[in-house]
Amino acid sequence: MSTVDASKTSGPAPVTDNYLTHTRGVWSWLFTLDHKRIGLMYLVSVLGSFFLGGIMALLVRTQLLTPEGLIMDQDQYNQVFTLHGAIMVFLVIIPSIPAALGNFVLPIMLGAKDVAFPRLNLFSYWLWIVGALCFVLALFTGGLDTGWTFYTPYSIDTGSAMGGVIPALTGVFILGFASIFTGMNFVVTIHRLRPPGMTWFRMPLFLWSIYATAIIQVLATPVLGITLALLAVERAFGIGIFNPALGGDPVLYQHFFWFYSHPAVYIMILPGMGIISDLIAVHSHRHIFGYSFIAWSSVAIAVFSFLVWGHHMFTSGQSELVTVVFSFITFSVAIPSAVKVFNWLATMYKGTISWNTPMLYGMGFIFIFTIGGLTGLHLGTLGTDVHLHDTYFVVAHFHYVMMGSALIAFIGGIHHWWPKMTGRMYSELWGRIAFTLVFIGFNLTFFSQFMLGSQGMPRRYASYPEDAGFQLYHILSTCGSYVLALGFFITAGYLIQSLIGGRRAPANPWGGRSLEWQCTSPPPHDNFAEAPTVGDCYDFSVLRWDENEQGYVWREDVSHPANEAHT
């Protein structure tokens, strides 16, 4: 228990041997088998991609300031929105929480020394890099203008779709395998590396959501792989499966594609929900409410996610009966999501809520996710979806869910675990300012898009009719996007600043009870000298604030966690 003890006794003095200083040199990073370093490399890569995708988003928004389009021609615009979508989905949101934060946090939270297959973990990171390079290759082989969905027959029409389709498909295929290997690693880690006392229902809820996510990653991604392989072969050789000119069926492609890509939506949002469950509990200093309902709702969402893909295709020409059935099943996803929101609120009830940056992101998530989830009702309802499908209403809805929820949870998670990952505290003041900008900017950007959509503005338009009354909403949205960008730049600024001049982080700055807060900040190379023992990870009453430490420590009058292992 030396590690756990260290957190009690040593002040926030520099930790001499941690995973950052354990070995040195570039190679010790590039070929590391340490899950923490791999997680950190993922984090840097994902944030780099997020920067690129964000630049694309700003270009898109700037273009739409005027009806005729401000800065680009049609081809450029189509390429920019395609890259924005493809980068954000495949390179940012899907790997963001599982591969970056999950890799870092999961084994420590679980009480393991590493993930089950460290070499596979490193391999998955390198696959990710190769996949990302394929996207760069796509830019140099003619660009990509198919939209991130690669809908047929446009994407197989070599005469009109740009030449980067096959490199991009290769990239997504490879990224898919990176995602599969991460998911496999997590499933096996959670199954086989839980230390004594860490029963399934003692796991922090973040682990439940990562587990549900990993299951989806393993089961859905191979189907995407083979779909894209079929698409690439169709484009290259003309096999006649998706090409109507050869007796193929373009709607079949949509079925194949959404069979993966709808579960993928939950690959994006489920880990976010997991982070929020932990953020709300830790920063409210209050035992999570309805643990098992939240845990099971994650599993329920994972199961339902495989049964609702057809709701992307209500106007695609699939049969009316199928459409009605998919609409019905789609509503079933609404229930577990609602259950989670209610449980988070109940957790805050009678809590001791810190208004610090991670908690602000947590509360922002509840606000944004409620809007995102409720507007899903408009789209699941058949009568209204016909009007709203493929308009900005859909764009606004999935940005509320994928960006406003998944990505906000990611940013919140970064703030939550930043002291643990880097050993430094960031500026709380700037954190709150940046959150305010992000929150206002986000809602301004995307709430106006709900109006645009329900008023009839179709998506993926580089220009729009002048007299339709869209311009005001576009201007509001674009202004919002600039505020949002400013918020993110400030965030990047103070986080980087904290690496240089930040206060040293205590082992437990927030008062978390899960195992990662029991090892030093940053954690040592092996996480735990020996497998730690586990209590109720949401019982915060055993902690007290220590002024010298500037963090939380165990109350002297409660028994040591080692002693309560099997109570």
Binding site: H285, F289, G290, F331, F342, L377, V386, H387, D390, R544
Partner: protein
């Protein structure tokens, strides 16, 4: 349950745009709007509850200075509460599903006496054919008011989607099969039609206008459109072509010499007559225009590129053009050929269409332009 909808939405039918919805001009629009209002109200209530609780708890239970005693006694679960907040949303979404399904069925089931219009979508224009009147319109759809209209749609190339926000209808147009939608316009007027499924470069320019006319006016207009090119004197055909037919070419063929998806019309006739146009197979018009050649008559090249565009694709282009065989009447093809020949008379040097060209014909006034400017 439908009475609930009627109560909320249809009871106060609104023709004007509201905060959420655009102007409504079809029989299904009030139903959709009523459904939208119902969902909105549910959403407002839930959103208000969640956000009120969020702010109330966040403020009331905020951590005060020096408050580090954490209550471990509060409730951590409550089965009755969990079942309540699982059950109530379940009931609400089932009601929502049911209402949505009913509206959807109305949206999808065309009445038996529908008036059919055939729609062809191609990158990046819409063609509407009225079989009853043998009239073809491009990027303009004229329909009668207060009569169910069914669109039977086919795509010549990629996916498109026909979307008229004012009618609350949308349906993808899929190559290799027919899809359909129907609506009954209630208000005469002009409405915007969009392509809602991404279809490539000029997706955002693939727009059309829907004109809703009372039945008698509609019949008059159709009759006029059906005869328009027959009645026009040959001297006026170029003007007719540039005003009434060119909008189907405009997305790919410019008039100012700039290359689009296809070659510009500017100077096309000269290139054809001189035989300088080169094809992707290495031949040129000149190779085929000698005595006995396929294009001995230069007019035949123009005609061939309209009805068999893939036969000879001009060097530097991808051959993306669909065939207009059967979509254009003989006299319309004549008009296009004449337009190519006399392009400088109907288009100025900058590529703008001249409003009243001097074509040397007797009747300078052009009745057909009236229809175009609508």
């Amino acid at each position: 349950m439908m009475s609930l909808l009627t109560m909320i939405g249809a009871a106060a039918p609104s023709k004007e745009a509201t905060f959420w919805m655009p102007e409504s001009a079809s029989t299904v629009a009030p139903m959709v709007d009523g459904l939208m209002d119902f969902i909105n109200i549910v959403c407002y209530i839930f959103f208000a509850l969640v956000v009120a609780a969020l702010f109330y708890f966040a403020i009331k239970y905020r951590q005060r200075e020096g408050d580090y005693t954490f209550d471990s006694d509060g409730p951590t679960h409550n089965m009755a509460l969990e079942i309540t907040w699982t059950g109530i949303p379940t009931i609400i979404v089932i009601v929502m599903f049911w209402l949505g399904m009913q509206t959807y069925m109305d949206l999808r089931t065309a009445p038996a006496n529908s008036y059919d219009v055939n729609v062809t979508a191609q990158k990046w224009s819409w063609t509407f054919q009225h079989p009853e009147f043998a009239v073809t319109e491009a990027n303009e759809l004229t329909v009668p008011a207060n009569r169910p209209v069914r669109l039977i749609m086919a795509s010549q190339d990629v996916l498109h989607s026909l979307y008229v926000p004012a009618f609350r209808v949308k349906q993808d147009v899929v190559p290799g099969r027919y899809t359909s939608l129907w609506f009954e316009a209630t208000e005469p007027g002009t409405y915007q039609l969009y392509c809602a499924e991404y279809c490539g470069k000029d997706h955002s320019l693939m727009l059309a206008t829907v004109h809703v006319l009372p039945w008698d006016e509609y019949q008059t207009k159709m009759g006029k459109l059906a005869r328009e090119y027959e009645d026009i004197p040959d001297s006026q055909l170029p003007a007719y072509a540039i005003n009434r037919l060119y909008n189907r070419c405009a997305s790919c063929h410019s008039l100012d010499g700039s290359s689009g998806t296809g070659p510009s019309f500017k100077g096309l006739w000269d290139r054809t007559v001189n035989g300088t146009t080169e094809f992707t197979n290495g031949q040129s018009v000149g190779d085929l225009s000698g005595p006995g050649g396929e294009y001995e008559l230069a007019e035949n090249y123009i005609r061939s590129s309209i009805v068999q565009p893939q036969r000879h694709v001009v060097q530097g282009f991808t051959g993306a053009m669909p065939s207009f065989q059967g979509q254009l009447k003989e006299r319309q093809i004549d008009a296009l050929v004449l337009m190519m020949k006399h392009l400088d008379q109907v288009v100025d040097a900058d590529g703008n269409i001249i409003e009243s060209p001097n074509l040397g014909g007797d009747d300078a006034a052009e009745p057909e332009q009236e229809g175009a400017s609508e």
